[in-house]
Symmetry: C2
Subunit: 413 residues, 2 copies
């Protein structure tokens, strides 16, 4: 088993092939979930997995399951999963590394004519990023029972199009029920870029992910007063954008004051978008995270109370303060993590470390149902969700070998 390795050149060329769909001139990717490029790369993936002996199922959330049979096909497959969708100004690695490494593992098994005991599957989860259809990981979330199918189908983009409509449009609204119960797996392994600076800082290729931090998303709408910018005295205003600006700073400051937490405002929209009319309505989102659920609850409470104070002082109303996503802290299965660790030990000779993920991943939701573990590989400068996102093919190859080893170990076990 120790001698089986993925084919580096083939793995690298699958990036060149599949990143043709959604590539941007700046070297990045814009393959928002369920757009035309996502359709094309999905079709490409289906062709590739069929060519290496897999059967393909598509579920009602558009998740693609490619299964390579084993000796005992009554067993649910051991899965390798991640996502092919990207951020609007994203890179070629986030999610893509996971799916293409999984594909390379399937091809390697086929090449070497390895007959596993359980079937082995590759899963492409729909809309992991949540960039087009908030929240993130919604399709693995439906599979893992965190959201209803109805909730998943009705998430919509900024133009009002829903996931269900777009799945229909691109031909990926499958008929398999989207749930662990209807379409089980026996384990889920995911390789992903770290998206942070820790591995690079310690000059390590690979990390063993033992869990994922706690995260909440909020939607906030403020309502002040549209007023003339040139005639309304500064002290007679209910300036909604000024109020939002104070909140954004306060949100940041609260996270800085609470070690182990992060809070960010990245999306803002003001109306009526007229230079000489004070904004009367401002919408923004908060991304809040922390190393524990208790710490996140504390942060969330502080954010709400500080913003409430600011709004009251400014005569602005908080019309909406909705938590639109909550993903509690996740701890991965010890046994599955141990198989990743053993595999990393073999491939990297002890040069790896245990870590907690700052980003959410589909593994968060598979972990609710089946033994799950993740492998991180380092990425340049910790930069992610950016066209400059980068990991070397050598690091990806090392990670893919760790994935292959973990799957084979799980299969033996």
């Amino acid at each position: 088993m120790a001698s089986i390795r993925v084919a580096a050149a083939r793995l690298a060329s699958s990036f060149d092939e599949s990143c043709a769909w959604g590539a941007t001139p700046d070297g990045g990717m814009n393959r928002l979930s369920l757009n035309d490029d996502d359709k094309r790369v999905r079709e490409w993936l289906v062709d590739q997995v069929k060519a290496c002996g897999c059967t393909v199922k598509v579920d009602k959330m558009g998740n693609i399951f490619a299964t390579r049979p084993g000796k005992n096909n009554a067993l649910p497959p051991i899965a390798m999963g991640s996502h092919l969708d990207t951020q609007p100004a994203g890179g070629k690695y986030d999610g893509i590394v996971g799916v293409l490494s999984g594909l390379e593992v399937l091809r390697t098994l086929q090449d070497k004519q390895v007959e596993t005991y359980a079937p082995v599957a590759l899963v492409n989860w729909t809309n992991e990023e949540g960039a087009r259809f908030p929240p993130a990981m919604v399709a693995s979330g439906v599979w893992g029972g965190a959201f209803t199918l109805e909730h998943g189908h009705t998430r919509s983009d900024a133009s009002g199009k829903t996931i269900k409509q777009e799945l229909e449009r691109i031909g990926f609204l499958g008929d398999v029920d989207c749930s662990f119960e209807a379409n089980p797996l026996s384990a889920h392994f995911e390789i992903h870029i770290e998206q942070g600076p820790a591995l690079e800082a310690e000059d390590l290729r690979v990390g063993v992910v033992t869990g994922v931090q706690s995260m909440n998303w909020y939607n906030v709408v403020l309502r002040g007063r549209e007023q003339h910018c040139g005639t309304t005295p500064m002290d007679m205003r209910a300036d909604t954008l000024l109020c939002a600006a104070k909140m954004i700073q306060a949100i940041n400051a609260q996270a800085l004051a609470l070690p182990g937490s992060l809070a960010s405002v990245a999306v803002i929209n003001s109306t009526p978008q007229s230079i000489n009319t004070l904004a009367g309505r401002v919408q923004f989102n908060i991304d809040a995270r922390a190393s524990s659920d208790a710490l996140l609850a504390q942060l969330a409470e502080r954010l709400k109370s500080t913003c409430t104070e600011i709004a009251e002082k400014d005569g602005v109303k908080i019309q909406v303060w909705d938590r639109i996503w909550k993903s509690p802290k996740t701890k991965f299965d010890e046994n599955a993590v141990d198989m990743v660790r053993k595999s990393a030990q073999e491939v990297e000779g002890g040069r790896f470390k245990d870590m907690i993920s700052g980003a959410g991943h589909d593994s968060v939701y598979t972990a609710k149902k089946v033994p799950t573990a993740m492998i991180f590989i380092r990425c340049k400068g910790g930069i992610s969700h950016n066209p400059a996102e980068f990991s070397t093919q050598e690091d990806i190859q090392a990670g893919a070998n760790v994935l292959l080893g973990a799957v084979l170990r799980y299969d033996e076990y």
Copy 2:
């Protein structure tokens, strides 16, 4: 002359008629310049002025000139002008009061068979608000020589459509050259709602406007770094929206620290609009005003230097800092102002006051070429650029009578 008065009921009903186009359910108006409702209300206006003996000219900026002949038609007409376009979330009074009062004056002159010495004209200036096509007052600005026709034609809305394209589309791209020289007036009187709280505070219906404050608009684009909100440590970010938030607060604080000045940020746009990706690009506009050009220059310099400091500290680049509009302080013609004052004296029996306008008006640009003066009427709570904008018909009627008196006085003189 003192005995001629406008017809209150007819004036009121012209509001009901013409505000049908662009009315919003909240009681306000959304008649952005050159949209379909603006087309319809323009067509309505042309019908009305023709019915009271006027000839109609449309110039290359779509300005409509309706002229009622006098005894000596070799003289340029004495004009009454304002605008029928509104803010996207605007009211039924800003600009509309001016055009409908002018129409009522024309109708009154016709009714009473008054033969003026000079012709009298009503002008509907295009895109006064600048809400759809920044900057404000661009079409009176072309007529007054502040902008070239090319500049006027190429101003564009958020979707990229230009003024020229939209004038063509709605059938109001006229063939008369847009300039004082090609199409002269001999004076310009404008009645407008105050858009501020001063008249109401002193329980006055009418103000005599002696000038307009100094104003600048800026377009600012910041460039930081798209990064993952969940994995990027707070101290490794170039968070463009956080930087913009600090600037918005600082811009406000600078104006507060400089009595006689105002500074507002009402329009903001962040990209890539993904909840878990820090904004890498933020665009916003500044509306800066002051009671003198020197004070505005001082404010402008402080805004730029504070924002530059903030950007440097935050590792964000100020990619664009463009002044997109500059309208220096305007002082109206003393003689024209005096005629408004005499007329106000007659109509309101001394119950009026002199004042400076905080808002820009088409009269700013006509004042560059011809004797110009303005009449303000009070509006409720000083609220403007808001659906709740309101003036009573009695106040509008008083203002229209002051306008009528000023025009007849100027005609005698």
